[in-house]
Amino acid sequence: MKRTLFFILFLFPALLFGQEKFSISGIVSDSVSKEAIISATVALYSDSIPSSESLIKGSYSNKFGFYSLTNLVNGEYYLYISSIGYTKGAYKITIDNADVRLNSALPSSSVETQELVVTADRETNTTSKISSVNITPSFISKMPAFGGEVDIFRTLQLLPGISSASELSSGLYVRGGSPDQNLILLDGVTVYNPSHLAGFISSFNNDAIKDVRMIKGAFPAEYGGRLSSVLDLTMKEGTKDELSGKAGLSLISSKLTLEGPINENSSFMISGRRFYFDLLLSLIDDNAPDYYFYDFNAKANYKLSENDVVYVSGYFARDVFDLEEETDENAGINWGNSTANIRWMHIVNPELFTNFSLVYTDYVFNADFGDSDANFNTASRIRDIVLKGNAEYLAYDDHVIKSGLDITWHNFNALINLDGSFDPNDVNFDNGKTINTFDISTYIQDEWSATDRLDLNYGVRAYYFQEGGYFDLEPRISATYLTDADIRLKGAFSVANQYLHLIVRNNISLPTDLWFPSTENLKPSRAYQAVLGAETNLFDDEVLVSVESYYKSMKNLLEYRDDAEFTLGVPDEDQFTSGTGEAYGVELFIHKQIGSLTGWIGYTLSWTTRQFDELNKGKEFYPRYDRRHDISMTLNYEFNETWELGAAWVYGSGQAYTLPTGTFYWNRGYGNDPYEFSDRNGVRLAAYHRLDLNFMYKFEAYKLPWQLSINIYNTYNQKNPFAAYVDNEYDYNTGESKKVLKQITLFPIIPTLGLSVEF
């Protein structure tokens, strides 16, 4: 009976079609470094001259560079593989009763093409690209950078739909979501609090990163655990060519990246940065506190066979603050992330691609204050151990079926000590408060090219979160349709849940902010998001024009109550209150992709609101990062082989802020006459705008290519508001004081220099 069933299910369809099917598969890599090329377009034609009529089928390489074209019959084919920045590979292939394995090594090209991809070519399934942007690190390195230090997050903030809460924050506020609603993955590992200097600089070193993929919303089922967006970073694997590296020096940091082969089957990459604020401050004041931070990335891979590669990667970042005064008082704070990942990529056969990971991630914060008589110290930590497996099934024409399973153990710790025995580098959490919990998630999705014009991506993700016993299903669906006028229409809908929350004050994330799990009382946040849009290429694909609108409804969002007391360690659940949120808007993106002059104009018209019964008297309010209009313009221009210019201009309508709308007499008070404030964030500060420039001068010295970067931050010295308050100002002429509105500006014009060399 069983044999009969097997015959019906698997063999009968093959007999029905009568002809044996084969496949062409392989790995696409860089011809020199042998690093895998992600999202390379693979297209198979029946004719040596590619055309839409001769196109048989297409695919694209995954994060490991793997592609597969299945269900092919015997015959002659022409395979074209292309990727941005590489010369197209063309291969004549004959299938003769056997699968074909073709690893393609593409030479890099100097053709001026785009380094930021918003849509894929026609041959690929385009649904996974909805609301998605891929940026290459080389593009990021050309953008102006504060202090000469390239920052991935600050470049992402230039895209429509992504904004910053303030100049102080590199946090990503995506389509009305807070930074904790972004799933930030580094080689598949979740990174908590990915920033240095209390959120000012992101903690990812651009030199160590190979690929940056940002999905602004309605992400596919393969991602989960956050409400708003996904930032998927892939570290460099390390070149297999020869030992090489890059060194950089700016006014605030130095960095070094080394990569090279270990043997013919393996390579490595290590990269480190050290910021030396402590050295700068010591030039000015001997008693200035020691403050510095550093981060370190490393990755190695070993090719076990044609079908098996093992990757080991790690990331370590620390911020260290130490204040030792002339008295015996001291204050020390340090915090940072550590992650480690062992990943095994295994190609079972041309139709089944798998990868498995064992992940460890650890975010720790500790602080120590006191003197010789009494010491107070506190520490908190979140640790995850994750086992995950993913599979891609490529057996069906026009379908890529992906599925996966994640099992994550979370451990939250917090500790407060008053006894003075504290070693910040070796914290014993045994006496602290601990929450242990785990979650299991699984997904399945199908990327289906339904017709030549219609692509679909549908799937579902299931989540079980032990703390509180939550089980949720998250359906996801997206579709694109190519019209006769070559306009691609896009639509997506998704449901997402979030079980870990970072609850911050004043929308300014601090290292003391602690991730807190959903519990029986704190329900998981949930978001429903819909996206509609259209895009087209104009002027021989030189210019991409994209319009997307979105609507997002969120519930069970968490905030501190107004009367919550600031505490270190694990906060009491009573300090939080939950509410709902709504975000909607339209994004316009015009991107000139090709030529010596490239750049984009992004415009976002958006609304974001929150409603909490226990905040703002239950009335709806805008979060601080709500911006009605957001404009960004970037430009990259190559004057010649020596000089290049990167420029960025941003404009944001005034941020929502709470300010007094009246003052009154109050007999019961002891101080000044009190103010009556507006509704929460009910007043708008002045609009924000800024121009940053980066002049790059390339030259050769000691037979090595060097690049000098002259960065000018806030070129026309606009005094942008960061905060405002009413103050009493004394007039020495009249002897009277009067009330005035004071504005705090963080950064005026700041010119800096940076120097880098490749070897």
């Binding site: 107004d562 003052t663 008070g669 103010y675 507006s678 002045a686 308050y725 500006t745 220099l753």
Partner: protein, 268 residues
């Protein structure tokens, strides 16, 4: 060469740092003004009349004077049981104080609803004077804290019937801001530790209990807000909370009960 590099480096850093000066500027930006009624009224048990201060907010950058905040033509009424009391403006005060011309019986456990109308705005607030909690026992205890300091305390055990906010003070300073005790459940025994109060005639410790309508807690917890203080993150932006309803008015209309007593009367 090293020195030259150091000079260049310091020069560049100086440019960077000096450019960060002048972080704070006075800006000519008009803040929106929302005129609101401000209510400030107490209702004491067994008092013979009612008075309430009715003023208004003024634009945030103006300095507060009595002239600017006075509201002299408000319609002010108090409703309780089936009665209505019209409050009249007191002629002899700098502030706009409204009071009941005829004696009024202020009762415990009865809701008093204040309604003030002025310039198209209405302020409504309700308060009920809670029944005083009963002292069921007082004992003297010595408590040693973590720093080995020993202090003598009186433990006052209360049995309350209605929830409320208790303040205890000596008999002449008025309610002590620093000590409130929240009796948030009805019909429960609460223990309160207090240090010795004023000794009268070298003989006994005298104290006064104030027991407020539970709404007082909102005010008490937020009484230090309403401050537009500076700092890099700006002010908290939180208001003094009261129990006046709606968006057109703010303030407090609060009933309380009070009693003076001595420790020796209960001491075991």
């Amino acid at each position: 060469m090293k020195n030259k590099m150091k000079i260049i480096y310091i020069a560049l850093i100086s440019i960077l740092l000096f450019s960060c000066e002048d972080l704070e500027q006075t800006v000519d930006y008009e803040l929106p003004y929302e005129e609101k009624l401000v209510i400030d009224g107490n209702l004491a048990a067994k008092a013979s009349n009612i008075s309430v201060i009715v003023t208004k907010t003024i634009p945030p950058l103006e300095r507060v004077t009595f002239d600017k905040v006075r509201v002299t033509d408000a319609e002010c009424k108090v409703y309780y049981e089936d009665k209505v009391i019209d409050l009249e403006l007191s002629e002899n005060q700098e502030l706009s104080v409204y009071y009941s011309r005829e004696p009024v019986e202020i009762k415990v456990g009865v809701e008093y609803r204040l309604e003030v109308k002025w310039n198209g705005k209405t302020a409504i607030a309700r308060t009920t004077i809670p029944k005083l909690p009963e002292i069921v026992a007082v004992s003297k205890e010595t408590i040693t804290d973590e720093y080995d300091w020993s202090n003598e305390y009186y433990k006052l055990s209360f049995q309350n019937e209605e929830k409320g906010v208790l303040q205890i003070s000596d008999d002449y300073l008025g309610p002590n801001e620093s000590n409130v005790y929240i009796f948030k459940e009805e019909s429960k025994t609460y223990d309160v530790w207090v240090q010795e109060y004023r000794i009268v005639n070298n003989r006994d410790s005298v104290f006064t209990l104030f027991y407020y309508d539970f709404d007082y807690l909102k005010y008490y917890n937020s009484r230090n807000e309403g401050d537009s203080d500076g700092g890099i993150f700006g002010s908290s932006g939180l208001n003094i909370e009261g129990n006046v309803e709606g968006d057109e008015a703010i303030g407090l209309w609060i009933g309380y009960n009070q009693k003076q007593d001595t420790i020796s009367k209960y001491l075991r």
